[in-house]
Structure formats: structure tokens, C-alpha cells
């Protein structure tokens, strides 16, 4: 059993979750309970030194949330590591138990420089809601982290008390996240990547038009090339996709996003979960990519 509980929730947490979901028709109670379990898992990994910033950082949807993105992933958690982790050490580090919740890492799968624990089972003892006993997954990519980590408050964004203490977590540098998202968009073409690119572009604008600074342009384009090279090294399939990316094709995929997702229905852009607020307006998303990302990469 852990010495200091991670959660500090109120007795009526279930009512609070139910009320929270009622105000957000796209969200379900199961998603919120699972999200809380994933947050506990991350806090535990920070506390026990696994998510230390020096070697391992949070990336993906949870890192984006720490940058105030409203988008949430509902099942997978992503981390990135500079070195290949010891899976058994990692398994012990993930597992956690206190009075409120028990988390246990299950089998792991090896991918290309990627380890995924799937499922990680949890028993959210604090809740009687459906989904109180369920599972999620956690991946550790060891394809490299290029920039120093950024420590950010773990922004769970729930309006009710949740964590016993405020905590900062190490996330991948936002410029490096942007480089990863752009590469993922080019190579795989999922709407979530495009939305995240636009979100990070908006953040650059808010930070005094960082996108116009020459050194930022140089850094982002340099990071993109490094990420492409890493992908090329991972597998022959990825190498051929990287090699097929001409400069004009890279530009086209950002300029004509529908053509790169669902050319007919654009359903991909409308199937993402949002924890806070509503889905971003597609016009705004496109405008950010056109006005910030394209000049950043191609001018």
C-alpha cells in the first residue's frame, strides 16, 4: 500500500462526476472514472521517479492537456523515453494501490521501439459508477526525446477536488510535440494530429507570435527532420512512407486536410472527445494551420 494517498476526493465524488457529465453530453461517466485512474497512474509514476523528465516524459493527449488542450484521449496513455526501459521495472512502477484505487499492469506488447502495457486494470474503489472497474493502456516509446523536458502542473481540469497535492509533471517540449504531431499527420493522417497541430500553433500565437521568430522556425524544422529520420530507422514500412514525402506533398497534406482524412465525409474531425468546452471550429483550426504552420515550415 502507498503511504500518502494520491486522491483527495469528496464523499459525493460520484454525484460530482454525474453532474459534470450531464453538462457535457459527449462525455460519459465511464470515461471520467477511467481518466481519473489514468491521472492517478501518472502521479504515481512521477512520485516514484519513473516519469522523471530527464529520461522519460509525458507526451500525447495527456501532455496536451497539461498545455490546456481541451481534447482528451479515452483509453491510451503515452510516454516517451530517451532510453529503452526495463519492462519489468516499469510494470512494478505502474502498479499502485491505496484505499481509493488499485492499479495493476497487465501483459506488455513490444512494437517497433515501443512498449505497451495493455491492459492496465484498475479498481476505482472510490466510485460506485459503472466503469469503476475497468482498464486502460500505457505506451512507452523509446524513439528518443530531443529537447529538455518542460514541467507543467498536472491539469486535470475537473471542477471538483481530486488530487491530494498539486503536482507538476514532465512533458515533452511543446515544439517537439508539434514536430511529432506534424510528422504523424504526414505519415498516418489522423484528424487528432491535425487538431493538435492547430492547437499548438494557437499557443505559439498567444506566446507573442513565436512562430515568426527565425530560431523557432529553425528549431521546429530541425526537430521534424530528426523525427522523420527516427521514423525511417524504425521499420522498412515507415522508411518508404518517409521517403515518399516530397516537399510539395508535405505542404499539400497541411493545405488540404480533408483530402488527407476522410475525403468524402470529414467524419474524422468530428469523432474526437473533448473534456472541456466544445469541439474547436474547423474554420479556426484550418486558419491556424494556414496562417501559422505553413509559414513556419515553408516560408
Amino acid at each position: 500500500m502507498a503511504s500518502e494517498p494520491i486522491l483527495a476526493i469528496e464523499a459525493n465524488i460520484d454525484d460530482q462526476i454525474v453532474q459534470f457529465c450531464k453538462a457535457r453530453p459527449g462525455l460519459t461517466e465511464e470515461q471520467v472514472v477511467r481518466d481519473i485512474a489514468r491521472i492517478v497512474c501518472i502521479v504515481n509514476l512521477v512520485r516514484n521517479g519513473t516519469l522523471d523528465g530527464k529520461n522519460t516524459v509525458l507526451c500525447g493527449g495527456m501532455a496536451m492537456r497539461c498545455l490546456d488542450s481541451p481534447r482528451m484521449s479515452v483509453f491510451d496513455g503515452d510516454t516517451s523515453s530517451r532510453r529503452e526501459p526495463d519492462p519489468e521495472v516499469l510494470r512494478d512502477a505502474i502498479s499502485y494501490e491505496d484505499e481509493e484505487i488499485a492499479i495493476k499492469a497487465g501483459p506488455l506488447q513490444h512494437g517497433d521501439e515501443l512498449i505497451t502495457f495493455r491492459p492496465i486494470e484498475y479498481d476505482a474503489r472510490f466510485s460506485e459508477l459503472r466503469g469503476a472497474k475497468d482498464e486502460f493502456s500505457l505506451s512507452v516509446s523509446h524513439r528518443g526525446v530531443e529537447c529538455p523536458e518542460l514541467w507543467r502542473p498536472l491539469n486535470h481540469r475537473y471542477p471538483f477536488p481530486l488530487l491530494a497535492e498539486d503536482l507538476e509533471v514532465p512533458i515533452m517540449d511543446p515544439d517537439e510535440i508539434m514536430a511529432e504531431k506534424i510528422v504523424a499527420w504526414w505519415l498516418f493522417g489522423h484528424a487528432k494530429h491535425y487538431n493538435d497541430i492547430a492547437f499548438l500553433a494557437g499557443r505559439m500565437v498567444q506566446e507573442g507570435r513565436r512562430d515568426r521568430e527565425p530560431e523557432v522556425k529553425t528549431m521546429v524544422t530541425g526537430l521534424i527532420e530528426k523525427k522523420l529520420t527516427r521514423n525511417r530507422d524504425v521499420s522498412a514500412n515507415l522508411a518508404s512512407r518517409v521517403d515518399a514525402l516530397s516537399a510539395s506533398e508535405r505542404r499539400r497534406r497541411l493545405e488540404q486536410p480533408e483530402d488527407h482524412v476522410d475525403p468524402d465525409q470529414r467524419k474524422g474531425f468530428n469523432s474526437l472527445a473533448y473534456l472541456h468546452g466544445s469541439r474547436p471550429d474547423r474554420t479556426d483550426v484550418d486558419r491556424l494551420v494556414q496562417r501559422v504552420v505553413l509559414p513556419l515550415l515553408f516560408d
Binding site: 460520484d14 459527449g26 512494437g111 459508477l129 474524422g268 472527445a273
Partner: protein, 285 residues
């Protein structure tokens, strides 16, 4: 909803539990309910008003978790079962099953089902169970058996529902993509299924044959793209490819035009470019 139970409410719930009933059905439970109240319909309606039962519609009421009148405390799938099973064959499939089998990292607050019966309420999209809109397609094919990948999911002694297994769920996406989320979502799920060994290529071919030659050809092409083309060629008889008609890869996608690539072996017109499908399949590897 706050819950208040009268003595008679408790008698109804205990009576249902003795009979291993998770959902009360007015037409089936009236006899013993009449021993407690002369008008069972009124009794159940009033109980639902007090949060002692959850109204599912069509004379069906689910028994909530004690102390919690909200449907949120109770698994919604058995309530769906209680609402649909009496009408005929059904199973939870498509996007809902993709999410349940963790083949996607997305979630939607609706339920997607295949039904083997007609229902105006279902067809109109007006049916809601436990706060979830139910989206459905109807089939007259006999494709609801365990041999074709439909499993019983038991949550407790009295709670169950029907669901497609991972392989059948993936094959169904090629049959009715309109219920399976965005194309990128279910194509990515195929890659994920292969990667996590949730997809059984041999079984996929068997299920696909039961769903018709168009689904069989799409399944053959998907398996080809995933490196299991040999299995598909061995399992899917050549007659599925003999039709003069060309099948569209994405059933609800763009209409065929000459410029679209045609897979010469499976005779499938790629109305989403092959490169894009390959990218989605590769994601996460």
C-alpha cells in the same frame, strides 16, 4: 435522480431478484406483480418516478443500483439487452464494440447495434436506453450465431448482453461503415487488431463469407494490406471474385470513378487511396 423506496417497492425489487430479473417486462411479469398491486403498469411507472426503477420504454424497467436511481450507476448494456432481446436477434457491434474491445481510443455516447427485426422507433433513431441514443441497422441475414462471432457477455448472474467479438466487429466495419465511426477510426482498428492479435484472419474470412461477396472481397484486400494475404487467398474461394461488379472499399464512401485505383485481384475499387489506408493501418506500430 434521488431514490426513495416504499415497502412495496422493496417487495418488487426482492421479487425480481428472486426471479433473477435484471429488467422487468410488464407483459411477462404482470402475474406476480399483480399480487402486489392490482395495476402493475401504474405500480412500475410510479416506481420509476421515485427512482426505484429505470424506465427503458416499451413496458420495460431496469432495477437500479440500491441507493442510486441514476442509470449512470448501472451498466447500460444489460439495459439495452432488456430493451431489445425480446424483440428478436440483436448484438452490440460496430463502433460500440470497437470501443469495448479497445480497438479505438475514441468514445461516443451512443450505442450501435445490428438487429434482425423491424422497429420504427429504432429506424427513426429515436430510441434511447439509459441516456444513450441507439443507432442501428437491420439485416435479414442469419448472422447472429456464436459460430459467426457473436458472444454472450455476462456481467453478473442476472446481467448479460450480446456483442460481436473483435474479429467479427472488424469485419462488420467493412459491411456497415456508417455505424463504425470515421473511416480512419475503423481502418486504424484493423491495424490495432492485428498488432494485438485480436484479429483472427481465418475467422475473419469465414465471417465475411456469411456477410456476402462484397464484404469478403474487402476483407481479402484488408488482410492483404496487413500482410495476411495468403490466408485470405486460401480461405476465400475464387467465386467471391467472379462477379462483374466492382466493389467499393468504403461502402459509404465516394462513388466509384475511373481514376480510383482498382485492386485487380480482389476487384475492389479504392475510394480512399491505398496510401491512406496503409498509413492508418500502420499507426502505432
Amino acid at each position: 435522480m434521488s431514490q426513495s423506496l416504499t415497502t412495496r417497492d422493496a417487495e418488487v425489487i426482492v421479487g425480481a431478484q428472486r426471479r433473477r430479473r435484471n429488467v422487468l417486462v410488464l407483459s411477462e411479469d404482470s402475474d406476480w406483480l399483480r399480487e402486489l398491486h392490482p395495476r402493475p403498469k401504474d405500480l412500475l411507472l410510479r416506481m420509476a418516478g421515485r427512482g426505484a426503477l429505470i424506465k427503458l420504454g416499451a413496458g420495460r424497467y431496469a432495477i437500479p443500483v440500491l441507493g442510486h436511481g441514476e442509470a449512470a450507476y448501472k451498466a447500460w448494456q444489460p439495459m439495452l439487452h432488456g430493451r431489445l432481446a425480446a424483440l428478436g436477434d440483436y448484438y452490440l457491434g460496430f463502433f460500440s464494440a470497437l470501443a469495448e474491445h479497445r480497438l479505438t481510443d475514441l468514445a461516443e455516447p451512443f450505442a450501435t447495434v445490428l438487429v434482425g427485426f423491424g422497429s420504427r422507433q429504432l429506424q427513426s433513431g429515436e430510441l434511447e436506453v439509459a441516456g444513450r441514443q441507439v443507432r442501428s441497422v437491420r439485416t435479414r441475414r442469419r448472422v447472429f450465431s456464436s459460430e459467426l462471432g457473436i458472444e454472450v457477455v455476462r456481467l453478473s448472474r442476472s446481467e448479460m448482453y450480446m456483442r460481436s467479438n473483435p474479429t467479427r466487429t472488424l469485419v462488420d466495419c467493412l459491411w456497415h461503415p456508417e455505424l463504425s465511426g470515421a473511416t480512419e477510426t475503423w481502418v486504424t482498428a484493423w491495424g490495432r487488431g492485428m498488432r494485438y492479435e485480436q484479429l483472427d484472419p481465418v475467422a475473419a474470412c469465414g465471417y465475411a463469407l456469411a456477410l456476402g461477396p462484397a464484404v469478403a472481397r474487402r476483407t481479402g484486400l484488408m488482410l492483404d494490406l496487413l500482410g495476411a494475404g495468403e490466408v485470405a487467398r486460401a480461405q476465400l474461394p475464387s467465386r467471391v471474385r467472379r462477379s462483374d461488379r466492382v466493389t467499393l472499399m468504403i461502402a459509404d464512401g465516394l462513388p466509384a470513378v475511373e481514376e480510383m485505383e482498382l485492386d485487380p485481384f480482389w476487384r475492389v475499387r479504392l475510394n480512399v487511396p491505398r496510401d491512406r489506408i496503409e498509413g492508418w493501418l500502420l499507426y502505432g506500430k
